[in-house]
């Protein structure tokens, strides 16, 4: 259990890391430095891994070979596909539930008093603790994976949306009031557009959480998916295959996070310029 919780931390750091990488992309020199950093890390890893028993660690070259092999024999694409489906279902469910809940809590005091604590508790609590009971409820297949992804993600999305509603500039709402705009129109024309950047932040953090969710579910159930590949490789002393799967997870998380970033830029192009990130 502790080992799993530790696994969760680096994946979450990935989100902030990828955001950092995104902003670093600005200059060619920065990109060069990043590349150099990756190369140096790979070299150190390569040298270090060659010093130890191949049962315990695999150098990047071996991981890369394993990766090619796993793609070649179709085991990796199958695993990714197995993980991607419940991931997507759980993530979309989290959005469908999380955003409206966040909007309602942020907009109405009564709703905040009723369920605000639940969202905070859900966000703060390690959801891993619920995995055994989730397995009882949802079995060992698709449903438990989707449910895990959903519960890991929904609170992050809700809490960010909620936060966004609270941070809608009061003066903008006042503009609506001053020009005799109706309440529904204030909501649709002022509040929701203001909250979009916060919602997107929630979705971006949610990606990291959702990856943790799917891996945890697959670790516990040990049935299929990229998580399943990791468990199997670990049990059969094949660190190269294990690391290959971890690298795939990492790349997927970074790619999905940047995708959400792209969507955000498309949905709210004004936000980046306000934040001073125009260049």
């Amino acid at each position: 259990m502790t080992a799993l919780a530790d696994q969760a931390a680096p994946v979450e750091d990935e989100t902030t890391l990828s955001r950092k990488i995104r902003s670093q992309r600005r200059g060619g020199r920065d990109r060069l430095v990043t590349t150099a950093g990756v190369v140096v890390l790979l070299i150190i890893w390569e040298i270090a891994a060659r010093q130890v028993d191949p049962i315990l660690a695999a150098p990047p070259s071996a991981v890369f070979t394993a990766l090619i092999g796993m793609v070649g024999d179709g085991s990796l694409p199958t695993a990714v596909w197995e993980s991607a489906q419940p991931f997507l279902v759980g993530y979309v469910l989290a959005i469908v539930v999380g955003v409206p809940v966040g909007l309602l809590i942020g907009r109405f005091r009564l709703v905040e008093a009723a369920i605000g604590w639940l969202v905070i508790a859900g966000y703060a609590m390690p959801m891993i603790a619920l995995t055994p009971v989730f397995m009882l409820w949802f079995g060992l297949g698709f449903a438990v994976k989707a449910a895990m992804v959903m519960t890991m993600t929904v609170f992050a999305i809700s809490i960010n949306t909620w936060n966004g509603v609270q941070n809608v500039p009061r003066t903008l709402i006042e503009v609506g009031t001053a020009f005799c705009t109706s309440q529904p129109r204030i909501l649709s024309q002022i509040v929701i557009p203001s909250v979009i950047p916060s919602i997107m932040t929630g979705l971006r953090i949610g990606i990291g959480k959702a990856v943790v969710g799917i891996v945890i579910a697959e670790f516990f159930t040990a049935i299929g998916g990229v998580g399943g590949v990791i468990v199997d490789a670990g049990h059969s002393f094949q660190p190269d295959r294990m690391f290959a799967a971890v690298v795939v997870l990492m790349l997927a998380a970074v790619a999905l996070t940047s995708l959400v970033g792209l969507i955000e830029r498309w949905l709210a192009p004004w936000n980046r310029s306000i934040a001073g990130g125009a260049r």
């Binding site: 503009v175 020009f179 005799c180 129109r185």
Partner: protein, 266 residues
């Protein structure tokens, strides 16, 4: 007489409750009148309640006692007979300049084409025709404030209410905007009430300056400055009348009676 009045503020008092539950009197028995097509400045040191007073006229705050009539109708809340210009323009960042002007018109159920046309005319009036399709973050501070003015003018209000409209701008832009405001006033004949802590601005732009003093906020004096509508800002600034009015206003704002300078009292 009342047909000539655009705004009539009668004995308005406002008591706020602060964080510690104590009552703070922001305004006490404030009365003044604004005739049609007049430009009136509300000025005074910070804490004198000038912004609160303007917000009461806007309908965004309710007076504890007293009444405000705009265009002969009592104010109970925001209304389309008042166009409001905010201190920092407060445009919707996701809308273009034109879209922001249209926003003000949307509460009135005009046909879309007519709304667009009205907004375009207002944008043209403030000289932003070429920037109509830019978003606020692509506009300079002065341009943003012009959009704010266009948004307020588009609804064709009886009174234009402006809260420190140029205070966030740099000195040169501010001067330019002041000149343009006079031009807009000349062209539209709108009644304008603006809040300013800038003595020069108040004297230069307004026909009449209402000064307030704090603790509690109350009217300390009303000064007529009227330069005559067609006098340019340059002429105004260079005139002896400006220096004289400016001096008088400073005296008023700092709570001294004008008579002092005549040696009537110490």
């Amino acid at each position: 007489m009342s047909g000539d009045l655009a705004v009539d503020v009668r004995a308005v008092s406002k008591v706020f409750r602060d964080d510690k539950g104590r009552d703070v009197q922001a305004l006490r028995e404030v009365s003044f009148q604004v005739r049609r097509s007049q430009i009136v400045a509300l000025t005074g040191r910070s804490g004198c309640g000038k912004t609160t007073l303007l917000r009461i006229i806007m309908g965004l705050e309710h007076p504890t006692s007293g009444t405000v009539d705009v265009d002969g109708e009592p104010v109970h809340g925001p209304g389309v007979n008042r166009g409001i210009v905010f201190q920092n323009a407060e445009l919707l960042p996701w809308r273009t300049a034109l879209g922001n002007v249209e926003f003000g018109l949307e509460a009135r159920r005009l046909p879309k084409a007519q709304r667009r046309e009205t907004a375009e005319r207002a944008i043209e009036l403030v000289g932003l025709k070429d920037a109509a399709h830019r978003r606020p973050h692509e506009l300079s501070g002065g341009m943003r404030q012009r959009v704010g003015i266009a948004r307020a003018l588009a609804i064709d209000p009886a009174v234009l209410l402006m809260d420190e409209p140029f205070s966030a701008l740099d000195a040169q832009t501010r001067e330019k905007m002041q000149a343009e405001l006079l031009e807009i006033h000349e062209r539209t004949g709108k009644t304008i009430i603006f809040v300013s802590h800038d003595i020069d601005e108040s004297v230069l732009l307004a026909d009449r300056v209402v000064t307030l003093v704090p603790d509690p906020g109350r009217v300390h004096g009303v000064l007529d400055t009227a330069f005559g509508a067609s006098t340019s800002l340059e002429e105004r600034r260079g005139s002896a009348q400006f220096a004289q009015r400016r001096h008088e206003l400073l005296q008023l704002v700092h709570g001294r009676e004008i008579q002092q300078q005549d040696g009537v009292s110490v």
